[in-house]
């Protein structure tokens, strides 16, 4: 029994109502261009200001199934799709009474009801959408794949409510498995109890608490000893941005240069959030922190953040990638590649980790903040290998306005127009620079 399902997502803001999806669906399902056959219906809103959608939601608790007297509808426990069985259907239309979304409808042209079936995991509508308004979100299948794996952190870590880092480390270790040694230098991750309290550890695998300055070199030494013993053990660092880019940088840079076999994960919450929200080298310009306050003399941080992922790319590591937990399937794909690369040499994952406590936003909004970071291009998702160069894993075209991201966060509440324009320039320039690397990749 699966616990999560893949689904078609609709980004209303990106849809211009062109109707390509409806034609593709009609073609796929009926070999016709007539939109009467389309199981996805795009409609301009009643005030013409937005685009609306009617299609099957593949509900978790489907009313159409409950309302069917002939057991012709059922939710497939493996795929999550609500299947329609033509042999059992009696054409009573009661399913259409159950659905409040217009997702299962009678098609007079064929004489029975029809509904979206996600095209067996390869939806025709998504493939033709020219605007990225339709996406096939496969993160659901991740939960099904790893859900049965053991969570290698104890329950009850004392992370703040809504903490993105806890979600990240639980997923990461679940996927990596128990053949691992974990290093958690000072920061939120040991702070929430992963290294334990009172002589007990918070992690079900070997974990240790290096200094901020020596995480990568300690892992390098441990790895060499295991190699000497003939045991293939994964070395994993779960470090904050301070432990990566500020005080931890020299040992990290050295280990990357020596191409030590380890997977170094930077959990970037843009500051020293565990010790009272001080500014770090990763804190973006304009951010309020306790050391870059907002007042008469100062309006948040004066200098820009450094782009650690890009810096690590310049080390020519075996694998470098950025990730966001709003795009879990993207993260898992990169984690698998990074893990494989760490058997050969140095792998670096930079994961953006919005912090409800330090950035001042409601705990329930974490994933939405993650998503907006990416959708505005404030951060970009890409990966790098020495042979293949840089490649974006999510399109940076058609970003939503940066203000959509900034206005979610208390730490930017004071920004004036000049600061917003500065941040926008910074976003544009970062993207231009990364795209130049992508061009090199394409040219080679």
């Amino acid at each position: 029994m699966a616990i999560g399902y893949n689904s078609i997502t609709f980004n209303q803001d990106k849809c211009d109502g062109c109707g390509d999806c409806m034609r593709a669906c009609s073609q796929a399902k009926a070999g016709s261009d007539d939109s009467v056959h389309s199981r996805i219906q795009i409609l301009a809103s009643n005030d013409q200001r937005s685009i609306e959608l009617a299609m099957c939601r593949q509900c978790g608790d489907p009313k159409c199934v409950s309302s069917c007297p002939a057991a012709a509808l059922s939710k497939d426990a493996t795929t999550g799709i609500i299947d329609w069985n033509a042999d059992k259907c009696v054409n009573c239309l009661l399913c259409t009474v159950g659905c409040a979304f217009g997702g299962i409808t009678y098609n007079a042209a064929v004489g029975h009801v029809s509904k979206c079936d996600n095209c067996n995991g390869d939806p025709a509508c998504v493939k033709v959408c020219p605007h990225g308004a339709l996406e096939y979100n496969t993160s659901g299948s991740i939960y099904s794949r790893v859900g049965a794996n053991e969570d290698l952190f104890v329950p009850g870590l004392s992370a703040c409510q809504g903490c993105n880092s806890e979600l990240l480390i639980r997923h990461t270790l679940r996927n990596i498995g128990s053949n691992v040694v974990v290093a958690t230098p000072p920061g939120c991750i040991p702070g929430m109890g992963t290294v334990g309290y009172n002589g007990k550890t918070g992690t079900k695998v070997p974990v240790f608490h290096p200094l901020l300055t020596n995480t990568a070199s300690m892992l390098a030494g441990i790895k060499k000893q295991y190699n000497r013993l003939g045991r293939d053990v994964t070395m994993l660092a779960l470090a904050g941005d301070g432990g990566v880019g500020d005080v931890g940088f020299q040992s990290l840079s050295g280990a990357a240069e020596r191409n030590e076999q380890q997977l170094f994960v930077c959990v970037d919450n843009e500051g020293y959030m565990n010790t009272g929200m001080q500014s770090s080298g990763s804190t973006p310009a304009g951010s309020w922190t306790s050391t870059t306050p907002v007042g008469k003399a100062m309006q948040g941080k004066r200098s820009d953040a450094k782009n650690m992922a890009k810096i690590m790319m310049m080390h020519n590591c075996e694998y470098v990638a950025t990730a966001s937990l709003a795009f879990m399937d993207d993260y898992y794909a990169k984690l698998d590649k990074a893990l494989a690369a760490s058997k050969r040499g140095f792998a670096y994952l930079h994961v953006y980790a919005p912090c409800p406590t330090g950035w001042r936003f409601p705990a329930a909004n974490t994933i939405d903040v993650c998503r907006k970071q990416v959708e505005t291009n404030f951060v970009t998702l890409w990966e790098f290998t020495p042979d293949q160069g840089l490649r974006f894993t999510r399109s940076t075209d058609k970003p939503i306005p940066l203000i959509e991201y900034l206005r979610q966060l208390g730490k930017y509440r004071h920004l004036d127009q000049g600061q917003i324009e500065h941040l926008q320039r910074r976003v544009d320039n970062q993207l231009k620079s990364l795209k130049a690397f992508e061009l090199i990749t394409e040219a080679s």
Binding site: P69, A70, K88, L93, L94, A100
Partner: protein, 426 residues
């Protein structure tokens, strides 16, 4: 004495919805389903299709034994409820077994009404409420040449069409002057009626059977109130159903036509709920309580009862019954959501006026009638005009203000409804 934390009497939609809702909240408590039927759970609504042969009698189960096992449900079939002792949380079955419960759901459904027509008690006839009825009717129809159907409700109409399509000579007798009263107004009903006439069904509207007599082994003759006498080899009595509540006598459970329930499907006696065709619950349009006897309501009520019984904090009160009907006949579609006639709305204290919008296209057999109260939808019925009844149901239940889009709604209820749905439920 047998014991079960949750005891559900009945095995159709309301019972199964309650079961599912209980298991969400309480996966481990003992749960027993007891039904007077001898089969795995099925829906009475599917029975006309078993008669026609479109559905196979062994392929209509709503849930299989595997599901019941997975849900750890004890399923007892072929046993009916005789009496309840709410003071002691116990009840007695027809085999004398005594059961005690913590929570009891009565979802015993309904059974056919047999009208008091002279001679009916000595004449063989068919009804259609159980799977065994359907199997028997299918067998009888294969051996008959002429059939009489008493009552032009949903069951009678379905059966008349199926029997006629199977080659029988069919006469349909209805006391009222129209078919499907309560769901369609006389104009729409006349369109449906004429489709039957065109397909050779003899429609005797506004006629009463006054005398019935057996003829031969399984045949009968029926005398109408105008003196006309009709002969047939098969008589189907489909003059409506009534809730099965005989076991309530002496229990102190309040009943009228059905078991009276509050907005959480609870009866007046503690630890006892009722849902589905047996329940008499709040009407949407008036202050009275009604037996709706329709499938979507059974689902809704069963879900609420199950949530209430298992203490689910997310249970929401029942918003009131609305008549809903989807009906296909001779390849045509009829849909009705809410009231079909302006006068049946009894919100008399309202200062807003009812308005009615009717569109008819006789050439394509299209009919559409929309009834508003002010800017709110009260009911919509349509023949051969596409609609999303689930969306219409929500627009009525939520009393959605259609003022800004009323013109578009009247012109294009399908598209406008979908837009409203998407905007409202996003």
């Amino acid at each position: 004495m047998h014991q079960s934390n949750y005891l559900i009497i009945g095995s159709s939609h309301a019972a199964l919805e309650a079961l599912a809702a209980i298991r969400v909240q309480d996966p481990d408590a003992s749960l027993t389903l007891i039904t007077r039927d001898k089969h795995l759970p099925y829906s009475p609504t599917v029975l006309p299709y078993v008669v026609s042969g479109r559905s196979q009698a062994d392929n209509v189960s709503l849930k299989d034994q595997r599901y019941l096992d997975e849900q750890q449900v004890t399923y007892i079939s072929g046993r009916s409820l005789i009496s309840i002792d709410p003071d002691n949380n116990s009840l007695i079955l027809d085999n004398g077994e005594q059961w005690s419960y913590d929570k009891l759901l009565l979802a015993t459904g309904a059974s056919p009404i047999i009208p008091p027509i002279s001679g009916i008690d000595t004449t063989p006839f068919q009804v259609l409420r159980t799977l065994d009825d359907a199997i028997a009717l299918r067998k009888a129809s294969s051996q008959a040449r002429r059939a009489i159907v008493l009552g032009a409700g949903l069951v009678g109409m379905h059966a008349a069409e199926n029997l006629a399509e199977a080659g029988l000579e069919v006469t349909l007798i209805e006391m009222q002057t129209q078919v499907l009263p309560g769901y369609f107004d006389p104009q729409a009903a006349a369109m449906i009626e004429s489709a039957f006439s065109q397909h050779g069904v003899s429609m005797k509207m506004g006629r009463k059977a006054v005398q019935i007599q057996p003829q031969g082994e399984s045949g009968c003759s029926v005398e109408l109130d105008n003196g006309e006498v009709l002969d047939a080899d098969l008589l189907l009595v489909s003059t409506g159903v009534r809730p099965v509540i005989d076991y309530c006598i002496g229990s102190g459970i309040n009943t009228e036509q059905g078991i009276l329930v509050d907005d959480h499907m609870a009866t007046n006696r503690s630890n006892i709920w009722a849902a589905g065709d047996v329940a008499q619950a709040q009407d949407f349009y008036s202050a009275t309580k009604v037996v709706t006897g329709i499938l979507p309501d059974a689902v809704e009520q069963g879900r609420i009862a199950g949530m209430a019984m298992s203490g689910d904090p997310y249970v929401k009160p029942y918003r009131g019954g609305i008549p809903i009907n989807t009906y296909c006949f001779y390849g045509q579609q009829a849909i009705s959501v809410g009231v079909s006639e302006s006068s049946t709305d009894s919100e008399a204290d309202s200062s807003e006026q009812n308005s009615i919008e009717i569109r008819v296209d006789a050439d394509i057999g299209m009919f559409q009638k929309i009834i508003f109260k002010g800017d709110r939808l009260l009911g919509i019925s349509a023949i051969n005009a596409p609609l999303d009844p689930g969306i219409m149901w929500q627009l009525i239940l939520r009393r959605t203000d259609l003022g800004p889009v009323k013109k578009e709604f009247v012109a294009q209820p399908l598209e406008t409804g979908r837009r409203l749905m998407s905007e409202t439920w996003r």
